[in-house]
């Protein structure tokens, strides 16, 4: 069995030798480069005068301002149009030949003000409020009135920039028949669907190696539409790769939500009512981003209840347009904000009521699963009380060390939604020489799912893992696919791989029985061999395969695995944090993650996901966040926008338990986002414990 073992990544060999192929490694004959002129104003009417050929919105999407501006720009960084030249140096010289005349319009970047509709973010909007929905259960107002303890306040989860090490980028080439694109994207198939409908032309999309995304490469970006369009119009291969500053001013903006809340409890800290309003800052009204982020605002609002048994609750969810970069998914996609809100509230209660942090969670936690939270989300399996019990010795040890070393302990509990649908595909086939090829419709970009898929296929087919090759990211090699996001790939994509592998195993059995000339019921499949139970005669794997090829039996199957419902991992994380009382600097010393993510397919890779997610969560708490001045983000490089280094990263430890598996064939739940979901409140709660008051804005940064 490979499943459950820390199998080393099959992806590594190319990447450690510099043989990866990322989009900017791709060079086509006669290829030219594209660069975009971007708005320098948050809201304005624009007129472009250019001494060089310039392709603006009137060329690419006449009469519209999205994806490319024709007349009215709605955020700093919005693409106004493109120039095409010999190389990156030339196109950046050409940008200086383009003159933009702005007629400034009033702008608004604060969603609380934008909600009043005194300033329209975009003239074609009826209202800046893009989303309004209310979730209600029980009688929260009455419960609040009857609660002996009520706390209230406002929590802010700041705007972040995903900042993957590789920016976006695309190569597009119209071959006379269809448009071929290579893009740094989270899904070739999703990109293809969007581009075909925009271009009204067939598109072949390839996701080459991708240098991270963290949600920022789910949507199809304005530039991807524009470059694909221009390749069709100009008939030459085109490449676009933005600079880091361009990337940060136009992509990857996430989070940016606030919660105003009233929470009622008993004197023992048992929550009796929760009433709140979530305001999500959607940025400018780009439809692709809206489709992505509006769902995240709802995720935040519904997950505010956390892993706690809260039956009287009302949350109003608002998504508000502003003159900022259109907001999109960032690792966790709405769930981190919800978790930050409830876990901050838990810690505030602990401080206000003088009840231990772990104890107050014990008093509120969901007692048994499956459990449907008051806003209709089902927590499918697991034992929340038990994981708290398991965490106790670690927590006691942290508390002891906190006293001895003058540190503070922060706690955070979470429950997550992962494994979103609607479906995923897998194709498995065997070449005539016996090599097994697994193709996934998902689009891994660093998470190592290729290795997990190989483990799954090798186990089902009972073959050495070396015999299995895994591919993805090309719309020409599998019929379709969804993509990699929502911590869904191993679970949903892996279940498709498992089913396709089982289907292939049945085919191999049939082929083997034909070669052995016996009924299929007479044979068994074991260790890659097909054996006639009667005679004891066995064919090894290669004999079965070559027999099938001789007889003309196809060994190529595709499975489509439909998802009926998401699955919920959960856990409790804790950190030891030092707070320098003189400088105000907080530093995370030790971090412990305790998770139940169902069956763990590869513990080494799962732990890697926790480390990565946790560091991003720590960074949201202590380092990252956009800084705005006059409607523009001013920290648009990695000196001013703080991405942590190894020095800021604490020692981390990961423990996992399996009290609940998912109902998917893999039995697994997602872990890709869990670290980022919970680490932020863990750190903020530790800082708050140090100070004896709840800190409600991030990052915690002395100033």
């Amino acid at each position: 069995m490979y499943i459950g073992k820390p199998v080393k990544r099959i992806e590594d060999l190319n990447l450690i030798r510099g043989r990866g192929q990322y989009v900017d490694d791709i060079v086509l004959p006669n290829m030219k480069y594209v660069a975009f002129v971007r708005s320098e104003r948050p809201h304005a009417l624009v007129k472009v005068r250019s001494d060089v050929p310039f392709y603006g919105g009137e060329v690419i999407n006449p009469g519209l301002d999205f994806p490319i501006v024709s007349k009215e720009t709605t955020y700093v960084g919005q693409p106004l149009g493109a120039v095409v030249g010999r190389d990156q140096y030339e196109v950046h010289d050409m940008l200086e030949e383009v003159e933009v005349e702005y007629q400034d319009l009033p702008y608004e970047v604060d969603p609380r003000k934008a909600m009043k509709d005194e300033v329209k973010v975009y003239s074609k909007l009826d209202t800046n409020v893009g989303l309004r929905k209310e979730f209600v259960a029980g009688d929260p107002e009455k419960a609040l009135k009857e609660s002996p303890v009520v706390i209230e306040g406002e929590l802010r989860n700041q705007r972040m920039i995903a900042t993957p090490m590789e920016t976006r980028g695309i190569v597009a080439w119209f071959d006379g028949r269809r448009v071929n694109v290579w893009s740094s994207t989270q899904s070739a198939h999703f990109l293809r669907r969007n581009l075909t409908s925009f271009l009204k032309t067939d598109v072949h999309a390839v996701q080459p190696d991708v240098g991270g995304a963290f949600g920022s490469k789910i949507i199809t970006h304005p530039e991807e539409y524009a470059v694909s369009f221009l390749s069709l119009k100009l008939g030459i291969p085109l490449k676009w790769v933005p600079t880091r500053t361009e990337e940060m001013m136009s992509s990857g903006h996430g989070r940016d939500k606030s919660l105003s809340y009233k929470v009622g409890t008993t004197r023992d800290g048992v929550i009796t009512a929760l009433v709140g309003t979530v305001i999500g800052n959607l940025g400018a009204p780009y439809q692709d981003a809206y489709d992505d982020e509006s769902g995240n605002v709802l995720s935040t609002s519904r997950m505010i209840l956390g892993p706690y048994n809260i039956r009287n609750a009302r949350v109003e969810a608002l998504g508000v347009y502003t003159n900022l970069v259109p907001t999109t998914s960032y690792r966790g996609a709405g769930r981190p904000e919800g978790t930050f809100f409830i876990e901050s509230i838990m810690n505030e209660l602990s401080l206000e009521l003088g009840i231990d942090q772990l104890e107050i969670r014990k008093r509120n936690v969901v007692k048994s699963t499956p459990y449907q939270n008051a806003f209709g989300i089902t927590y499918d399996s697991g034992d929340y009380t038990e994981i708290l019990r398991k965490s106790e010795p670690y927590y006691e040890d942290f508390k002891r060390r906190a006293i001895e070393e003058g540190l503070c302990v922060g706690l955070g509990m979470y429950v997550e939604i992962t494994g979103f649908g609607p479906w995923e595909t897998a194709r498995v086939y065997v070449k005539s020489d016996g090599k097994v090829v697994v193709i996934s419709g998902a689009g891994p970009h660093g998470q190592g799912d290729g290795t997990a898929f190989a483990q799954i296929a090798a186990d089902v087919l009972e073959l050495p893992i070396e015999e299995v090759e895994v591919q993805w990211g090309d719309t020409a090699i599998i019929e379709d696919g969804i993509g990699t996001w929502g911590s869904r790939t191993v679970t949903v994509g892996g279940s498709a791989v498992m089913q396709a592998s089982q289907m292939l195993k049945d085919k191999l059995k049939q082929a083997g029985s034909k070669v052995l000339n016996v009924d299929v019921e007479e044979v068994e499949y074991e260790g890659g061999k097909v054996k006639d139970r009667g005679s004891g005669k066995a064919l090894d794997f290669r004999e079965v395969v070559s027999g099938a090829y001789k007889l003309g039996i196809p060994l190529d199957v595709t499975a489509v695995y439909p998802v009926t419902r998401p699955t919920s991992p959960y856990g409790i994380h804790m950190a030891l944090v030092s707070l320098d009382r003189e400088t105000g600097t907080a530093k995370v010393r030790d971090y412990l993650a305790i998770d139940d993510v169902g069956n763990v397919i590869n513990p080494m890779l799962a732990e890697g996901q926790i480390h990565g997610g946790v560091l991003q969560g720590i960074s949201q708490a202590l380092y990252e966040g956009v800084v705005l001045e006059e409607g523009r983000v001013v920290n648009l490089n990695v000196v001013d926008y703080l991405i942590p280094t190894a020095v800021e990263s604490p020692r981390m430890k990961w423990e996992h338990f399996t009290f609940g598996v998912s109902s998917h064939p893999t039995g697994s739940k997602g872990i890709g986002e869990a670290g980022a979901v919970v680490a932020t409140p863990v750190i903020m709660n530790a800082v708050s414990q140090c100070l004896g008051r709840q800190v409600k804005e991030m990052p915690w940064r002395p100033a």
Partner: protein, 276 residues
């Protein structure tokens, strides 16, 4: 990301370099390139020529006599490894390892970024800058070399040849850098050098960086400490006095108010570290 066009000159010797620089107003010398090239990439400077210095022998190497003579092209890494009191410690916390492998002391002080690290120890130790041009050499005290932020005493055609730092025998020294994260510029940097005899301060120098247009000596802090024993109380008083030499601006690294407070904190920490 993409520099504008420029010409490139590889001079045979330092005289050729100085001659070219003097006769081309908008030419710039290129040393480690870790401030110049970033500025080119952002197109905030547009020189007509870059004059490559890295092959020029006259600007390299560290000589030790009664003082350290540090060639302008000596890298931060080389300085960090050469055991120069105060300066080596300071060099070791500049930026990150790759930058330290390329960045040079001559380039750093010629660029005169108000947030850079070297000015704190250089002003504290009364370092001198040897400037060379076609007309010969001149030696300038560091506090006169730095005129203002990004502005030095250098004229067109002049280059920093070497930095001369006293050996500081018998001194204990420390550089305290407060930073948001590893590799960043200082929020506040404080350099301290102190000489005690029989428990009494006989000399003390305190240099502050990142809190003014250029580095400053905290003179009244020094006076508080001179001829006294370094008690906690006195250190605290001296550290408080250092704040009056700080006139920081509010920016992404913190408010002016915060930076002023941190001058006290960092000065206090530096003084406590050098106390025997």
């Amino acid at each position: 990301m993409y520099p504008p066009k420029f010409g490139y000159v590889i001079p045979e010797n330092i005289h050729e370099a100085m001659e070219f620089l003097e006769s081309h107003d908008d030419s710039r010398p290129l040393a480690g390139g870790h401030s110049l090239i970033p500025m080119l990439k952002l197109r905030i400077i547009r020189p007509s020529y870059l004059v490559e210095l890295k092959t020029l022998k006259d600007l390299q190497g560290i000589k030790k006599g009664s003082e350290y003579r540090i060639g302008a092209l000596t890298t931060h890494y080389e300085i960090s490894k050469s055991g120069i009191p105060l300066l080596s410690q300071t060099a070791s916390v500049i930026a990150d390892p790759q930058v330290r492998n390329m960045g040079t002391i001559g380039g750093s002080i010629s660029n005169a970024d108000p947030l850079s690290d070297y000015p704190a120890p250089l002003i504290a130790t009364n370092a001198k800058v040897v400037v060379i041009s076609k007309r010969g050499e001149r030696s300038v005290p560091f506090d006169q070399f730095q005129k203002d932020m990004f502005t030095t005493d250098l004229s067109q055609g002049e280059l920093v040849k070497e930095v001369v730092v006293p050996a500081m025998d018998g001194y204990r020294t420390d550089y305290e850098k407060l930073e948001r994260k590893a590799g960043d510029y200082a929020i506040v940097g404080v350099a301290v050098a102190i000489k005690e005899e029989e428990g009494v301060v006989k000399d003390v120098r305190i240099g502050l960086t990142a809190v003014n247009n250029k580095a400053m000596r905290a003179k009244s802090s020094e006076e508080i400490l001179m001829n006294n024993a370094l008690s906690d109380d006195l250190i605290s008083k001296a550290a408080s006095a250092a704040v009056e030499y700080a006139n920081p601006s509010s920016d992404i690294r913190g408010s002016a108010e915060y930076k002023k407070k941190m001058v006290k904190v960092m000065t206090e920490r530096a003084l406590k570290k050098v106390r025997k």
